[in-house]
Symmetry: C2
Subunit: 376 residues, 2 copies
């Protein structure tokens, strides 16, 4: 583990040097985990562009996690302080025998609050003595690194996806998806099975939406009963080693009507087109359009009301965003979802979603459950 994290820190170091920073203060907890391996709920990392024995990188956490930090982050100097970020900021700017402290420190402006920045500013002003150091936005530099997964991360995603596949297969095989059961019951059984199979947690609040509810993209499961002839949309995932899987399947109970088949086939075609567009260098807007154009050509453009997909990893939604308002291109190693949907308000909706990894060849499909229309 440690070597991977050290490599990631070196890549961030290079990005920080390019921005003319002496040090960066990483406080976003997924980013901290990515760079150190630390899984606790309070931790931050001070990373120096040019570390030395007098001015090393420092990992900060509070007293609850002293032991855990020793095990998970053995290769970074530890600072235990309840006010983690301000303690590290003071550490960054403190002059030592090895030379002056950092003069220009990057912070995560998308994560540090306005009050938090005020506390950092006052901490560095107190600690630095004479010249007042500059705190400046680092941007989403760590998130950009995280978008491309290494083989260990892909393996965690693969295991997370396999658990989701197996949980759904069990539920279907045992007849748990039958008329009379409620959305809430089905959701809880999916969750319980994923946990029993070794998931740390569901990836997010499992979506179970039947009948007209399936037309609501993010319906929260309630007491609605499954009925013969209704669509049943399941959007769920498992977390393994901190990595999130994400899959949606839409089934029909009993018998599929013509309109249900028609919408299903349309969404399946759009999803296949989206998957086919995944390639290194592909513009995310073009990938979205590859699927969206299929839906629009069938006259359902207005019923596909969200983006095509998103990156997955330590967070369920992360870079890259794949949608009409996205920006940037794909790269090999990015793990993303492809999830077009068509929602007919008051009637029902279909969404089909996979988690895949972009490669130089065909994208690797991680969610293996069939995408044939399953009639139960």
């Amino acid at each position: 583990m440690g070597a991977r994290q050290a490599g990631r820190r070196d890549r961030l170091r290079a990005a920080a040097a390019e921005r003319g920073l002496d040090a960066v203060l990483v406080t976003e907890l997924h980013n901290v985990r990515y760079l150190t391996g630390f899984t606790g709920s309070n931790g931050a990392l001070l990373l120096r562009t040019d570390p030395s024995p007098a001015h090393p990188d420092v990992f900060g956490t509070d007293g609850r996690y002293t032991t855990q930090a020793g095990t998970q982050v053995p290769d970074v100097e530890l600072l235990v302080d309840r006010a983690t970020a301000t303690a590290l900021a003071r550490e960054a700017v403190r002059p030592r025998s090895g030379g002056p402290g950092a003069g220009r420190i990057g912070f995560e402006g998308h994560h540090v609050t306005v009050d938090g920045l005020r506390a950092l500013e006052s901490a560095v002003a107190d600690a630095a003595g004479g010249q007042v150091p500059e705190l400046t936005g680092l941007g989403r530099a760590v998130e950009a690194l995280r978008a491309v997964k290494d083989d260990e991360e892909v393996d965690a995603l693969r295991r997370a996806c396999a658990i989701a596949d197996a949980a759904l297969a069990e539920l279907a095989a045992e007849g748990a998806l039958r008329p009379g059961r409620t959305e809430l019951q089905v959701g809880r059984e999916l969750d319980a099975r994923m946990l029993a199979m070794g998931a740390e947690a569901p990836s997010f609040e499992t979506i179970v939406a039947t009948g007209a509810n399936s037309a609501i993209p993010h319906h929260r499961p309630d007491g609605t009963e499954l009925r013969a002839g209704d669509l049943l949309k399941l959007d769920f995932g498992a977390t393994v080693d901190g990595y999130h899987s994400d899959m949606t399947r839409t089934l029909v109970l009993g018998h599929a009507s013509d309109w249900q088949r028609e919408v299903y086939d349309l969404v399946a075609a759009a999803q296949a087109a989206g998957r086919a567009a995944l390639a290194p260098g592909a513009d995310v807007v073009a990938v979205d359009a590859a699927a969206r154009d299929v839906v629009a050509a069938a006259g359902h453009g207005e019923h596909f009301t969200h983006g095509l997909g998103h990156g997955v990893g330590l967070q369920i939604h992360e870079a890259p965003g794949i949608g009409p308002l996205g920006a940037g291109t794909l790269a090999a190693g990015m793990a993303v979802t492809v999830e077009p949907g068509v929602y007919l308000p008051g009637h029902g909706g279909v969404r089909i979603e996979d988690t895949l990894v972009v490669t130089d060849g065909e994208p690797e499909l991680l969610t293996l459950t069939s995408k044939e229309l399953l009639v139960l």
Copy 2:
């Protein structure tokens, strides 16, 4: 429901007027829920100190929640926009026929990020025309209101606590807490029972810590097996209508040794002292000290490594904090935990925690599971 939320908005309006604000922008999601009843994942509230038909309060959310907002927030004007906060900020400052827009707007500096504030500043500069409005910190004004619960909130907490009580009672009655079972199994069964009893979710990641693990205040359950003669610490809760219960009980399996009984009796005495100190007007530092002094007098001061308790409600940790570094006094209607612990590294630890409501008389105990040392 709507009337309660309207009353809360009026109390915030008064607090905003005292601070000389024309409007406040509430973006912290629990605060938004408290003030509007909205339970979705993206929403914000623009509240005017002096609302009028031309300049009303406005609730903002995105297109996924249009229907839900209509149901849950029928009494506040709705603005649907993906960039909720900036759209409301523009709305705040826009001059209308009824007069000029807000000149001084409070925002939540403990929640709005540095990048977020930059976006708000640029939005108001664009929309206001001539004079540039001032964005200024509102502080934790909504959190301060939330600290005192009304009867409906206390009722939700009571139901959440009752579920936790019942789940533990079932587990104990069915012999699920026996040697050979793992921490992880016990934790998942507690969670499953709470869900089956109607909890929306566990209040937090359930803590199950046995043997030496019980000396770790926030141990994450793992494959460690329960063994005869070991302590078993369970810290868990249920969420009902968004409100969180919080309870810790420490049991012994088989037979309690002398040191286990001694530590248990000490923590129980400290906990009773802490509960007895809960009263309107009591300083939170004094309440902490009431329990801490009991532990310290027995020579275990250094083994009680955290604060005595915290408020509970829409969040598992909220105002007031009850600890040596706390500030402020208690008031009738505050819902708080009292949870002293003594942790002997390498041996084991005991924590006993209740959720209670401060009243003008005796505090109301919401977690009713016995605090006698339970030997299973």
